[in-house]
Subunit: 236 residues, 4 copies
């Protein structure tokens, strides 16, 4: 378990349109989006006196409260991965999940002595799917702590955030990822919360607060999409 | 424009596991879900004295506040559709979108004199994707009114709900639907709110409140998935 | 069963690049393909003295033997379909399958008295996927005969062509269509040729002459992709 | 360029149904396919006196001529890959392409001094998609030679086999892989054979001998599907 306590971001961030990359890079209709284009984002300090609750500003029109999170987090699997940028999977990696943020607990299986946690790729903010492929990328200072749960194995990465539990999948095509995340949530409900199979199936189908989140859908190299299935804790 | 004022649901609803249908119907591991299974859901009245803000109850464990919406809504296209159950597309249809609910305005192009609006398939509640394929299906009483906007054409169905604007897509595979919904939202921003192409691209990519909703992902017959791209109005 | 005896095509055919349609219509890199573009194809007579074994000629470089087939064929389902252009499914329709050609038998279930067979949309030739969305479209004269098999139901459209049997699926996403076609072929092997489940699974996996054909992959409106699973008869 | 001269397979091969793996492993309907199941395949010698043109025999019903090919072939990319089993991409890898066989030339870009070619995973035969996930896996003796083409870069792996040229893609979802393979073939035609963009687009759409091959569609770990676009050389 990794407990995320704080993510303090730098005073500036950057995003970019990369030529040949991104869903509209080759579009004739959307002809202003071919790139290369670099955009600097200012992070103003917030009520805390730090940027962690500050405001991101590109222009008068483009400004919003930051929502910092950790884009890449995982534990070393049993094998060498290509890089922290492109590797993703049941061990974590570059998942770009906005719910891996202060107040969240992230559960990974461990594949090596000591776990070999790695983190990086802090984002000041990101919309669902990270459409262009680059979020508000920034330096960050992260405070976290880890607990070890012995003798337990889980089917995929899990998150407990304030108020809800979430299962993550990293897969393609997206239909498969959505199904995996939901079935893993059903397993969580049946294995640890005493739900019957039917109760778990009915909950994901009928509960109006059950959510599927499309955290990342970037077509770069061998990245897969990150999908989450989320249920408020009050239903557990 | 269709203004949804009120959706009052019946005192009971029903859902079902249909043999041979649904993502786990043939699963050996999830062997309690093969069906046939019929589940009756009671709808208790809420503070309003009606069921519209009431509680859905299957058992002590399975209970939540209802969140009624209109599953099927659309205007007749230029051709005969197969049925209100399976037809979906730019004219609407069985979209199963939880945001077509009281307080929402839904925008359709019109293809016939008088528009020929049709509605039905009220759901008392539904989780994202409507996983089994059947939500809390119920009778409903719907109050709505319509306005006509002359001389305007939109690329797909649009929703204004309290606090946000949403574009819908009905497509397969899901990657295509997500892309269409986002690009249609970008068109909305550039065509009607004065955003440049770059501002629209940056907003969907970076704004932490930009959401992609997977309203429905049911593999029945020729249904397609319903996806929405949503942006809070305060950023317009 | 529909026995296709002969498909005689007209002396010219036409194909087109439609603006806004087709996989490269909006591409900046492939900037000559935006359309509108109409291309006339001449069909020279062949050894038979007719065009049925003739040659299609666009230019010196672009010429090949024609391979005429019926693009749209089906029996009326139990409901009104939108049009013969966009309707597809277990009843047939606009499948654009190059194996529905002279010498083939096509099997459909019947849903109405008399079957209500319809055909049209003859193509003089088509590459796999019909990439732009328009093949060598032409008028045609078709000779066919029908047999009725009573009291039998099949899971999807089947073809017997010279030398092989084929199951068709019309689905999205493509992974689903491929799986459905293969599983339907396995059902054919187990139901009618005495294969065990294991023999059918081993055959599709190991037989080097087992083929998956991507007949059509056109993203227009509500068309779905047409995929076929094919096994030579000598293995039956 | 890697010239494949000969692939001589062992006298036996093996395939297996792995529990929890494969498209029907969890199916209640196909209940004989859950595994674990191991199947030994005998390879009888053929006219050449070796197994290279021999016959694979599982039973009286399940026998066919072998069609040996190299399942895994590639050059080391610029980074460590996870393993030769799961790594695939523009550098090659576990592509399971039945056209990488005796008589074929396979073109890779080189990313390291000496190229660092690796091969393995010989299959005696395989049907399209390698449905269960395991082909006729066998030991093999491979004779090949390499040529170096200096100063040239290609967008993806290319094959010249007797009579045709093929472009490969390793992607998900399958729609994307099919499109990439076709567009890469169009690039080959325009870059090296003097086709205009329109001629290339018309050829893939209309030429009745243009084929899309679904070599592999296995959902294991981070494998992607292998698709090929193939055009006979006589049209070049």
């Amino acid at each position: 378990v990794v407990n995320i306590d704080e993510v303090i971001i730098d005073e500036i961030g950057v995003t970019a349109f990369v030529p040949g990359s991104g869903p509209l890079a080759d579009s004739r209709k959307w002809d202003e989006l071919a790139g290369p284009e670099k955009v600097i984002i200012k992070h103003l300090t917030g009520p805390s006196g730090t940027t962690k609750d500050g405001t991101a500003v590109i222009s008068d029109r483009l400004r919003w409260k930051v929502s910092p999170f950790i884009g890449t987090i995982g534990v070393a699997p049993e094998f060498e991965i290509r890089s922290s940028l492109t590797g993703q999977g049941y061990w974590g990696g570059n998942m770009d999940c906005r719910d891996i943020k202060p107040g969240s607990k992230v559960f990974f299986n461990c594949y090596n002595d000591g776990g070999l946690l790695f983190i990086g790729d802090v984002h000041a903010s990101q919309g669902d799917t990270e459409f262009t492929g680059a979020a508000d990328e920034t330096r960050g200072e992260v405070h976290l702590s880890c607990d070890v749960i012995k003798g337990k194995q889980i089917p995929g990465v899990r998150i407990e955030k304030e108020g809800s539990i979430i299962t993550l999948s990293c897969e393609k095509p997206m239909e498969e990822g959505v199904k995996t995340a939901i079935v893993d949530l059903m397993s969580w409900l049946t294995d640890e919360y005493g739900f019957t199979q039917k109760e778990a199936y009915l909950t994901t189908t009928l509960n109006p607060d059950f959510r599927v989140n499309v955290y990342q859908m970037v077509k770069i190299d061998d990245l897969r999409y990150t999908v989450g299935a989320e249920l408020p804790k009050k239903y557990l």
